[in-house]
């Protein structure tokens, strides 16, 4: 097991990019290798040691044996854990754009907030955000019609707009509130939102399931009421209580499932 600890010593207002510092790349690196490494900053590169104190303990034969800790605020560090396949990354603070984007395996934990595009095009692995995320979490790249396809994204706080755009697999759990258009264009996969939702979940969804345990302000016209169901099972998960079940989005001949907690959403009936 190898533990790499990066302790911030200098803040850069221009974002650093960490997509090269993933376990798959660095499992064989010694402290000297890190000290030689130059990290992308804007359109240049500077020594990583300008920004971090680096500690390396133990040895790793494979990426699975790596734990990397960014011990402090990484609110201006983009692409943390981007494309990682194995191992573990922990951020003790905030993370900037694209945290865990295109991740295929391993785990990323952010003990703070994450900026937009967290878990973008995720294929596998697990991301846990202890704070809030901004827009486009678990979504596709801009313009792209193929989004998150696997893995699990858990957000303990609130999520922003267009959560899980074009999702085609995997699982997202938002424990707080969620803004507009969660699950837009989704074709498969599962989204659970425990808090309140402003409006329009599941716009143009073709398939997959969204469960909302809080209050939904406005529903899209493309969702048809199916039934009131009790203790439903959705994609192998058991929920207790009464739910209003909709199918949509009929605007695109969608067969997606939208479940709203009946208690909190009486205004839709």
């Amino acid at each position: 097991m190898k533990q790499i600890t990066l302790t911030p010593i200098k803040f850069s207002s221009i974002a650093l990019e960490f997509d090269e510092l993933i376990p798959d790349e660095i499992y064989g690196w010694s402290k000297e290798d890190f000290e030689k490494y130059e990290v992308p900053v804007g359109n240049s590169r500077f020594p990583l040691t300008d920004y971090y104190d680096i500690e390396v303990e133990g040895e790793a034969q494979s990426p699975e044996e790596v734990k990397m800790i960014i011990d402090g605020d990484a609110g201006r560090v983009k692409y943390i854990g981007c494309k990682m396949d194995a191992g573990e990354i922990v951020v003790n603070g905030d993370a900037d754009l694209h945290a865990g984007a295109e991740m295929e395996g391993g785990s990323l934990t952010v003990n703070g907030n994450a900026e937009s595009y967290c878990g973008r095009e995720m294929k596998g692995g697990e991301i846990t955000i202890k704070g809030n995320v901004r827009e486009y979490a678990g979504t596709s790249y801009i313009g792209e019609w193929r989004g998150m396809s696997g893995g699990k994204l858990t957000i303990h706080g609130n999520a922003g707009k267009q959560l899980a755009d074009a999702m085609s697999g995997g699982e997202i759990h938002v424990m707080g509130n969620c803004d507009i258009l969660a699950g837009i264009h989704m074709t498969k996969g599962f989204i659970q939102i425990d808090g309140d939702v402003t409006r329009w979940p599941g716009g143009q969804m073709k398939n997959g399931a969204i469960v909302i345990n809080g209050r939904l302000e406005r529903l899209l016209e493309g969702f048809e009421l199916d039934a009131i169901v009790t203790d439903p099972e959705v994609e192998g998960r058991q929920f207790t209580g009464k739910y209003i079940k909709y199918t949509g989005d009929i605007g695109v001949n969608g067969k997606g499932t939208l479940l709203l907690n009946a208690e909190k959403n009486r205004h839709h009936l």
């Binding site: 790249y141 801009i142 313009g143």
Partner: protein, 569 residues
Amino acid sequence: MEYILKNGIVYDPINEINGEKKDVMFKDGKIVNSVSDDAKVIDVTDKLVMPAGIDVHCHLAGPKLCVGRLYRPEDERRGVKPKTDITRPETGFSIPNCPATGYRFSKMGYGTVVEAAVPPLEAKHTHEEIIAIPNIDIPPLTLFGNNWFILQFAKEGRIEDIAAFVSAWLKITKGYGVKIVNPCGSEAWGWGMNVHGIDDPAPYWDVTAREVIRALAQANEMLGLPHSIHIHPNDLGHPGNFPTTVNTIDCMKDIKKNSEYRNQTIHLTHAQFHCYDGTSWRDVTSGVEPVADYINKHDHVTMDMGQVTLDETTTMTADGPMEYDLYELTGLKWANKDIELETASGLVPFIYSGRNPVHSLQWAIGLELALMIEDPWKVCLTTDSPNAGPFIRYPRVMSWLMSYQRRAEMMDNKEVHAWAGRKSALGTLDREYDFYDIATITRAGPSKIYGFEDRGHLGAGAIADIAVYDLEPNNFDPTRNAAEVEKAFSNALYTIKDGQILVKDGEIVKVVSSKHVRTEVEGFEDEEKRILEEIMPFFNRYYTVKFENYVVHDHYAEPSSVYKVNASK
């Protein structure tokens, strides 16, 4: 500055040099027969030397590309490369940014690339993008096939007026030749319709594709333009479209050519998309045989392949209704453009896959065409970039043409679907192109077809556009080493443009401005003036821009290379 490229194995079909070991000399940007003792020697002993490549049909500059980049950011992120001391940053795969377009062509040893479809209204934008693309000369073809004035004149049979209009509009748009896309069909798209076959009239104008094609061809020959008409026929990509294709080229056979350099009066572009038999995508089969047979028996036609490369790409064409059909088929995003009195274009992303039966058949049809047409001078290598695949795949297409073994391997080990073998004759075609044939379809043939007397060969007086590849033709078997063929043609050892070394060892070492290659007709000025006066009231009424702002001014087309034509009436 004088140079001598020493001891290369030279393939120069125009001068009938077939793999001879010889020196190529150039001075001040031109090929010469001798140089002084001070000449700088570049040793390319035993390496493959050809004239720089000429691409006859590519979409690389203009509004379609710009729309494509705007609405496909997911394509732009493929192929990102940071700037270097010499080059600017690169982005994109099927629709690269302008600098990347130039660098990538240059790396493949290309020197001239034709922009295949320029709507006159957007010609300024095309020239702006040519300014931003480095290292290759670009002749833009101007679109005429759905132009309201042309439709009107063709209906009335006013050939001389069409000639005057073409002559004037080539000057206005700083274009090189006449491009026709789905004649009457793109205009019908304004009514939400399309036309089928060459005798289906356009709504309102009541004129058929046959009349438009013939009229434009007669005008083209009246002016004696260096290139013939360049046509994307009706019914692109429809199963059962091969009769339309044969009819299109057949309706031209009595038109006399007026050019000494080229042989054809019609160039059929991306022929792969026009050679389908059957009635639907379920029973579609290859329709290459009748088309290839016609081309083999007639000399007034040349073609380019439009080879499918099995990549994710972006389709873009001034064939608006076809793009709508494609959008219906794929369900992916679609962009549509209406170019006022001139044409209608569209864009749809497309994923060609070897697992898909139809795409695999398309792949086979392109190769079948190149292998069944006997005379390589009638064939050009293209992918209709980016429609059937991005241009960076040309070397891969070369490797397929050069190796029967590789083609069979692809069909045997399921890199392509069984339809490729079952519904086409590709599996039975064991012809293999050699380096001389490759030089013909990518250099010499295009030079002849376009009337580029100054390029596409290594004779004295030609511009010094030369490509050297890291292959030793005398010690190398391209029929057994497809991967190496692709690698070598992708990364030229040297690309020399106008006598300057732009690429060395597969890397860009110098960046120069691209030239706008265009045609100017002389001796038709009075007719041009008369026709402009006649159409101006109509122009002012229907265009959203003023004529003064429509014209491409000289500073848009610097530096230029102008082919002067004496209209021989």
